[in-house]
Amino acid sequence: MSTLVLLTMTGLGLGALYFLIASGLSLIFGLMDVLNFAHGALLSIGAYGTWWAASGNLPGAGPGGAGFVLAVLFGTAVGTAAAVLLELAVVRPLYTRPREQVLATVGVGLAVPALLSGIWGPDARTFPGPEALSGTFGLLGAQVPVNRLVLIAAAVVVLVALRLFLGRTRHGLVVRAGVEDRAMVTALGIDVRRAFTLVFAIGGCAAALGGALGGLYFGSVDPRQGTSLLIFAFVVVVTGGMGSVTGAAVASVVIGLVQQFANYYTAAGLGDLAVVVLLAALLLIRPRGLTGRLA
């Protein structure tokens, strides 16, 4: 029983991390038809920004208490700013050239880990976090790491915030409409490019937060972390239905759990294969993903 609980909580924690990356990725693809291969880099920027700040480089920030919160806010803000810069400087000039756009995001996705590696080295760096978050708590006989709970809580907060944004604000309305028919949104007199930048900022913010909290989950940061997580985020996006935040949430949980259980009960590494097989099977049965609906 305790193994099941531990696997479930770890799977949910991993799913939460996937959701933080995939939610923005899904909205960006749904609204803009942009396959953002640089999205993993935004996670890495958030992770390194938090690590850098929490390591004592940012006045007021540190590995514990309010200092760690400040470090997470800093890492998330840097990732958000990087996302806005990416949209304005790389993606926007290539709106009418989708092939070059994909190649440009691939380039950024490769360049950022190389840059991080060049500055701080290719090896993993120990992630400084509060002691309270490095311990465990008892749940139905299992000792569950607290950081899983932090990730799950953060993902739930992001999900609720995104649902409120999409459902209750005019900007959210524009994004939902844009996911359906971008041209018609412009034909109503709305500058959809603003929504593009906003969605990139939101996606970058969630991914960078994922990077900041992913450091707690993995206990370290390394330049390739974002890229390796991006692959599973793409699986989540396709499984959940392009442009659907709720679909991404459901798919994240499914993918995280399948991966954990398959890795434990079969052989390490088979869990990664299992989610790809799951994706292939789903695409054969429901080509539009689990939800089959938008946002």
Binding site: R176, A177, D181, A183, M184, G189, L294
Partner: protein, 247 residues
């Protein structure tokens, strides 16, 4: 048309996928009433409308109230006072009726005229919380036209608003457009000649991506030979497609 037209389109050309769709369309829309844009299937009517709005890459001249707009992006042109109901209605299926209308509200275009929209289409009020994708074709057209009436516009462009609708709904739509045209000029793309006869004062006919005819609508529709040649309608006197539309 001796007065300055509200919309003056000159030498409009559209090239899509390396293929010329429009070869230099010219048309003008009067400052009042309905101007019909006619032509056989594939003549380039919808592409002309999309070209005017900048929804497809185009060249030429598009003057709105004397101001050249061909370099403006679509949203900026629309904000200058154009309401657009596209051929496929362009409703957002995953949004409610109320959300579809709310999306069309434009800042600086006056207070949204919900009272007028709900007076003309009471169903839209009753179905405010219904997803637009679950509406009938006629109800979706009401949403599309309702959006054009919500703001204070200088021009309404309606692309085949009666296409695929039941005769009773065609009549309703024609009545609404007739009333709208009392306040705002309308550029109407329409295949239903009974509706054209009822609403339009002027007409422009396209053929193979070019302007083939311009003039008073009743003159064209009264000339069976010209109508047959330009519009491909059958022999004999022109008859309404629907009795209701002419009522």
């Amino acid at each position: 048309m001796t007065e300055q037209p509200l919309l003056d389109v000159t030498d409009l050309r559209v090239l899509i996928g390396g293929r010329h769709i429009l070869h230099g369309v010219g048309l003008d829309v009067a400052g009042h009433g309905v101007t019909a844009l006619l032509g056989r299937n594939g003549a380039g009517k919808t592409t002309t409308v999309r070209g005017i709005l900048g929804l497809v890459p185009r060249s030429g001249s598009v003057r709105l109230d004397g101001e050249e707009t061909v370099a403006l992006p679509t949203h900026a042109l629309v904000r200058r006072g154009i309401g657009y109901a596209p051929e496929d209605r362009g409703v957002f299926a995953g949004l409610t009726v109320a959300e579809n209308l709310r999306l069309a509200e434009r800042r600086g275009a006056g207070e949204p005229a919900y009272a007028l929209v709900h007076e003309l289409f009471p169903e839209l009020k009753q179905r405010a919380r219904q997803l637009a994708g679950t509406l009938s074709g006629g109800q979706q057209q009401m949403v599309a036209i309702g959006r054009t009436l919500l703001n204070t516009n200088r021009l309404i462009i309606a692309d085949e608003p009666t296409k695929g609708l039941a005769p009773k709904v065609v009549t309703e739509v024609a009545q609404v457009l007739e009333r709208a045209a009392e306040a705002v000029p309308v550029l109407l793309v329409e295949q239903n000649l009974a509706v054209v006869r009822r609403l339009a004062a002027h007409c422009v006919v396209l053929a193979d991506g070019r302007t083939a005819h311009r003039g008073p609508a009743d003159e064209l529709l009264g000339d069976a030979e010209a109508a047959r040649r330009l519009l491909g309608v059958g022999h004999g006197p022109l008859t309404p497609h629907t009795a209701e539309a002419d009522s």
